[in-house]
């Protein structure tokens, strides 16, 4: 947020306070100022670099998966465990209702503070997380619940134990499972969409992304380390990777970019969630018109057609 925006905000708050305190009629002035502020924010947003959006997506106060779950859905019941080894805390899920309609939620969850981030492993799942997701997908299939997958991960965890227990296998199987469902699937990237760890629950009939989220095959830092031999070149890499919502919309990777309040989702959680919920409901409604076979067919066609190449 620039100095300009911040000083305009201060002025606005001062006017509002004056009106409240003194009863002076400042309605017109306030309205003018609000309009001006909105314009300024909007033009600043349009100028935001890709790297700035990556940073927005990582803002500690940015809403996490559970913030959406708690506000957009009712009666979420978290179900635990992969029935095999453990219970991953970075990928949680369970049934809930959305305006009375039962759905199955899969949620990549970062911590809301340091303690939370340790518990959630900074949103980086082990194989158990993906195996739990598969179990819940099976349950959704069995009981006819649409799957709503909320994506927010820097990537799957790259550690020894994760490799030992088949990180790649779990991701691959999760992709395959999600691709096979005959219940509708929606995937929404709300923060970071880090590579295979995100795609594991990203096989949606519709894929959406929040305005200041990113989705890429590799993080800007890792990309910079490889291409420019310097992770500090991440801003350059971010530009190269074309990883913002607008980029992905143009590339045909997502169906929709869900707008955030000016300045970012964390500045107005209610508006953010309202936008999210409206989009999810609209797509669910459309998909509910399809038969199970049509759902599978539509999703298969969607992913079959991704990729850009020449032919001779």
């Amino acid at each position: 947020m620039s100095e300009n925006v911040r000083s305009l905000e201060s002025a606005l708050h001062a006017l509002e306070k004056t009106m409240r305190d003194t009863g002076a009629d400042l309605v017109q002035e306030i309205s003018n100022l609000k309009h001006k502020l909105e314009g300024l924010r909007s033009s600043e947003d349009a100028k935001l670099s890709r790297w700035a959006r990556v940073q927005l997506a990582r803002t500690p106060s940015r809403p996490t998966g559970l913030d959406y779950v708690e506000r957009a859905f009712s009666d979420f019941v978290e179900l635990s465990g992969d029935r095999c080894y453990g219970n991953d805390q970075a990928l949680i899920g369970g049934p809930a209702t959305l305006e009375g309609r039962p759905v199955m939620l899969l949620v990549q969850q970062k911590g809301r503070d340091t303690k939370g981030n340790i518990k959630r492993n900074f949103g980086m799942s082990h194989p158990e997380g993906y195996r739990k997701a598969m179990r819940l997908m099976d349950m959704a299939q069995k009981f006819g619940l649409p799957v709503i997958a909320i994506i927010d991960t820097p990537g799957a965890y790259p550690g020894i134990a994760a490799e030992e227990r088949g990180q790649a296998w779990a991701i691959a199987e999760s992709i395959a499972k999600m691709a096979s469902l005959t219940v509708p699937t929606l995937s929404i990237v709300i923060g970071e969409g880090g590579s295979g760890g995100a795609l594991a629950i990203g096989v949606g009939n519709r894929v959406m992304i929040m305005q200041n989220a990113w989705y890429s095959v590799i993080s800007p830092e890792s990309c910079a380390a490889i291409l420019f031999h310097d992770a500090k070149e991440a801003p350059r890499a971010a530009e190269s990777l074309r990883l913002t919502g607008q980029d992905l919309l143009e590339l045909g990777i997502v169906e929709e970019v869900i707008p955030e309040p000016l300045g970012g989702a964390h500045l107005d959680l209610d508006t953010t969630v309202a936008n999210f919920k409206e989009a999810v409901l609209r797509h669910l409604e459309e998909l509910s018109q399809l038969s199970g076979e049509e759902v599978l067919e539509q999703r298969s066609r969607r992913f079959r057609n991704l990729g850009v190449f020449g032919e001779n």
Binding site: W169, S180, S195, L199
Partner: protein
């Protein structure tokens, strides 16, 4: 073994001869010298220590398939630069260099062939083409290979060798993981078997997609196979990796692969598996497992 006899049509450029400028080859693993003709007869497996040398895609075909049986199906699809990727070298230039080096449009070669008379579709990744990275072309060719197998009602074998996704295609590259999976799901739904053979090295997005959802996962001895590369893991955990970590034998022990199979036994084994799992769709029984 005359490699050129294997290819009936669309003969890819042969690189095997260039690999053999001298008569003797010293094993990088045990340092024992082997007469190169003997090494080739052993399918480039060191007769002394069993070390599996990396081989070219053409050698792989020669070692796996019946003579003259391979018919290439891939090659019409070529990479573009949809992101106009900014890099130290332009993506089209990188591609051009690899194309000139390997004689193919991208890191993949597909076709139909036979193993001990059993028909199958084959996709082979070429690690020498930008580290076997998967971009739109690799994804499309794997997808078409799966579709071809479905059309022909024959099994599919993918020989994997890849450093992962192709960064220069960013999210388009990532999407190939889902795209290839969709095609393999369709193959599976039709009851047609899919085998993957993991060779050194297979990591990243390829391991986390089509490589590991095969009905039967085979791995060559000593191959490096994993999600994250060893360097990334080492940077994350800041400690040394255990001996043998992420190698085929390690993964076998951890329940991740079906069989670690010596290159010299792959033909027989694949023939058996093709018989066992392909019986639903098999026309006439072929047995006898000669090498």
């Amino acid at each position: 073994m005359a490699l050129d006899r294997i290819f009936r049509r669309k003969k890819p450029q042969l690189v095997v001869q260039d690999d053999l400028p001298e008569l003797w080859s010293k094993c990088t693993h045990c340092s024992v010298q082997t007469y190169k003709k003997d090494l080739l007869a052993e399918k480039k497996v060191c007769p002394s220590c069993g070390f599996h040398n990396r081989i070219s895609v053409e050698e792989r075909i020669a070692f796996l398939l019946d003579e003259h049986s391979f018919v290439q199906s891939s090659g019409h699809v070529t990479p573009l630069d949809p992101l106009e990727f900014k890099d130290s070298e332009s993506y089209p230039d990188r591609i051009k260099r690899s194309q000139q080096k390997t004689g193919r449009p991208d890191a993949i070669l597909c076709g139909e062939g036979r193993i001990l008379e059993r028909p199958l579709v084959l996709a082979l990744m070429d690690f020498s083409f930008q580290g076997g990275s998967m971009g739109s072309v690799v994804g499309e060719e794997i997808t078409r290979a799966a579709e071809l197998a479905l059309e022909r009602k024959v099994p599919l074998l993918i020989v994997c060798a890849s450093g992962g996704a192709r960064m220069q295609e960013s999210v388009l590259s990532l999407m190939q993981m889902a795209k290839t999976t969709v095609a393999l799901n369709a193959l599976g739904k039709a009851g047609l078997p899919y085998f993957s053979l993991l060779t050194d090295p297979t990591t990243g997005g390829v391991t986390a997609s089509f490589a590991t959802i095969a009905d039967v996962i085979l791995a060559e001895p000593g191959a490096l196979i994993g999600f994250a590369g060893p360097r990334v893991i080492q940077q994350t955990i800041r400690q040394n990796l255990p001996e043998g970590f992420q190698r085929s034998e390690f993964l076998l022990e951890h329940g991740m692969v079906d069989i670690v199979v010596d290159r010299r036994k792959q033909r027989t084994l694949l023939a058996q598996l093709l018989d066992h799992l392909g019986s639903k769709h098999k026309k006439a029984p072929v047995q006898e497992y000669k090498i």
